[in-house]
């Protein structure tokens, strides 16, 4: 266990951001908080710059799609790690499907660049201010965001698996 406990970390975060940090939970020991897209860069840069916390290491950025949750369909999830205190925090920002803009974290960490490109590629999250927001793993002329739930695993238009080829 680290030198800072989740409670202390949460106290510091709430002291700094108050009501802007909501939905606190602790699944499997990892402190998880939610914030808004207006606050996310402030939260991340504060976590990184704070002398005691020193969350200098961005572990991961990814997203998740909840089609049923009206107005909060797309969640962007940040995992940040303080190597000094050996504690991690997970920060979520939920966006409406029609308005998937969120400021980029690539000014805080260079490593966020490709993680955000991957998230854009698969979920269509538009990271505003990103220096080079292009698709990264899929082909450039793809028109859909394949990790969204409405996108089927297999191409519904493919004909090589039609039943009549197999005498069915």
């Amino acid at each position: 266990m680290g030198k800072i406990t989740n409670e202390e970390l949460l106290q510091k975060v709430t002291a700094q951001f108050g009501g802007n940090v909501t939905n606190v939970s602790e699944p499997y020991g990892l402190l998880t908080v939610e914030t808004s897209r207006e606050q996310i860069i402030d939260v991340l840069s504060w976590l990184k710059a704070d002398e005691q916390l020193q969350f200098i290491y961005l572990t991961d950025i990814t997203a998740i799609h909840y089609p049923e949750e009206q107005g909060r369909e797309i969640g962007v999830i940040y995992h940040v790690h303080s190597l000094v205190n050996n504690i991690r925090i997970r920060i979520k920002v939920f966006l409406a499907e029609g308005d998937v803009n969120i400021p980029t974290a690539s000014a805080v960490w260079n490593g966020a660049n490709w993680m955000e490109r991957e998230t854009y590629d698969f979920f269509g999250v538009n990271f505003t201010g990103h220096p080079d927001l292009r698709r990264i793993l899929n082909v450039d002329d793809m028109t859909v965001y394949p990790m969204r739930k409405e996108f089927p695993l297999e191409d519904p238009n493919r004909v090589d698996k039609k039943d009549y080829f197999f005498g069915r």
């Binding site: 699944p27 990892l30 572990t59 991961d60 190597l83 260079n110 490593g111 490709w114 698969f122 990790m147």
Partner: protein, 403 residues
């Protein structure tokens, strides 16, 4: 990116030429492309294009029961597939709240450290090849073969191993597996010593690697590097030591770090890690002798498939078998992030479960993907031949890069 100065017009010596390094260039050791602008032999700028073997594992995983995702993880870093398998099992076990017996942990550690050695053998061997020395690679390959033979005894396959199950192993290690591991512990140190003698103070090798692609700790952290290449810059971040999983806290080992972060330091760090892995395996073999020989999985009948002969003769076993195969076992709702120290760095699994038979969302934090993004910016101003060995020393595995 401000850390890597752009090449200005005044630096130019000749007309620019464009070089497509990849997607199938022999020096890239995998399928990825870099479009380089060259001024003579010096790289002015580069653009990395990746995704040539993207197989949509995260999407496929959303449609598969947990135990069928293990073979997908094989194909991430295929040079050390068992680490990925174990990482996945441990993630699911964390979600389900399964406590594995110590003997299972030690068995896992043996197989994970063996695969770490196998991965480092390939990386350092190939670094030798790219600097013009084929001997080391050929010489070390024999010992990777020995490791693969141990895999074969344990699980029957060599490259994409699909080893282990949720809760433990599919079968116990047999005596041959232990004998082969012991034999490996005897023969490999000699080979590794000889390998180091070939390279460590070799004038040609040192001239080619020292000071090449040196990276500061600040840059490495800012680019979220992890694994041996981060440790070569002097940051002692090793998941095994920092967030011990799988009983790593029971073991004595050191986390080797470099100072300059150049190709030579990465080479040395990987070599030293192999020594540490040998130490860990040795301790694991001693510890495993004290445990009950017949334990190779946790007692979790809801999640661990019963032996086949029981399925046909025992009502309970049949029910569990049916429930597991048909995906009718209740799983807790929740989200879990678990990371293991892969051969290339922090391999993380972010699993969101809604209680169904397959993950609601599964994200792989792939070290190769994240490590590789500094490659194009750091290549600016570098000689083409240096960029090639820089790529070998990053040990980017295409399967892990593209997922």
């Amino acid at each position: 990116m401000q850390n890597f100065p752009a090449y200005t017009d005044t630096d130019l010596q000749s007309e620019l030429s464009t070089l497509n390094l990849g997607p199938t260039h022999p020096a890239t050791h995998g399928v990825f492309q870099n479009v380089l602008q060259l001024d003579g032999e010096r790289i002015v700028s580069g653009v990395s294009t990746i995704g040539y073997i993207h197989r949509a594992f995260e999407k496929i995983a959303e449609h598969r029961p947990f135990y069928q995702i293990t073979p997908l993880t094989d194909r991430l870093n295929y040079c050390s597939a068992p680490i990925n398998n174990m990482g996945w099992h441990m993630t699911v076990e964390k979600l389900l709240g399964i406590q594995t017996p110590k003997r299972v942990d030690y068995m896992r550690i043996i197989i994970m450290e063996l695969s770490r050695i196998a991965d480092h053998i390939v990386c350092n061997g190939v670094l030798g090849v790219d600097t013009g020395a084929f001997t080391g690679f050929l010489y070390m390959m024999e010992h990777r073969e020995a490791i693969y033979e141990i895999y074969e005894e344990v699980c029957g396959s060599r490259l994409t191993t699909n080893v282990g199950r949720i809760g433990g192993f599919e079968r116990n290690f047999n005596d041959i597996a232990f004998a082969k591991t012991r034999k490996f512990l005897e023969t490999f140190p000699k080979a590794l010593t000889e390998f180091q003698n070939l390279f460590n103070r070799n004038r040609i090798f040192v001239d080619r690697t020292k000071g090449v692609a040196a990276v500061t700790a600040e840059d490495a952290l800012s680019y979220s590097w992890s694994g041996p290449i981060l440790r070569a810059t002097g940051v002692d971040y090793d998941v095994r030591a920092m967030n011990p999983y799988c009983s790593y806290e029971d073991f004595d080992f050191e986390v080797p770090v470099g100072t300059t972060g150049d190709v030579y330091d990465r080479f040395l760090v990987r070599n030293e890690e192999m020594w540490q892995s040998l130490r860990i395996i040795e301790q694991a073999l001693t510890k495993i002798d004290k445990e009950d020989k017949n334990i190779f999985h946790a007692d979790v009948p809801e999640y661990y498939l019963p032996p086949k002969e029981e399925v046909y003769n025992n009502m309970e076993a049949l029910i569990y078998h049916f429930k597991i195969v048909m995906g009718e076992v209740k799983t807790p709702v929740g989200e879990v992030y678990h990371s293991v120290e892969g051969a290339n760095g922090e391999l993380g699994f972010y699993l969101v479960n809604d209680g169904g038979r397959s993950p609601y969302r599964l994200h792989f934090r792939r070290p190769s993907f994240i490590n590789y993004q500094m490659y194009a910016p750091m290549s600016r101003g570098m000689l083409l031949s240096d960029a090639i060995i820089n790529m070998s020393s990053l040990n980017v595995i295409a399967g892990e890069l593209d997922a």
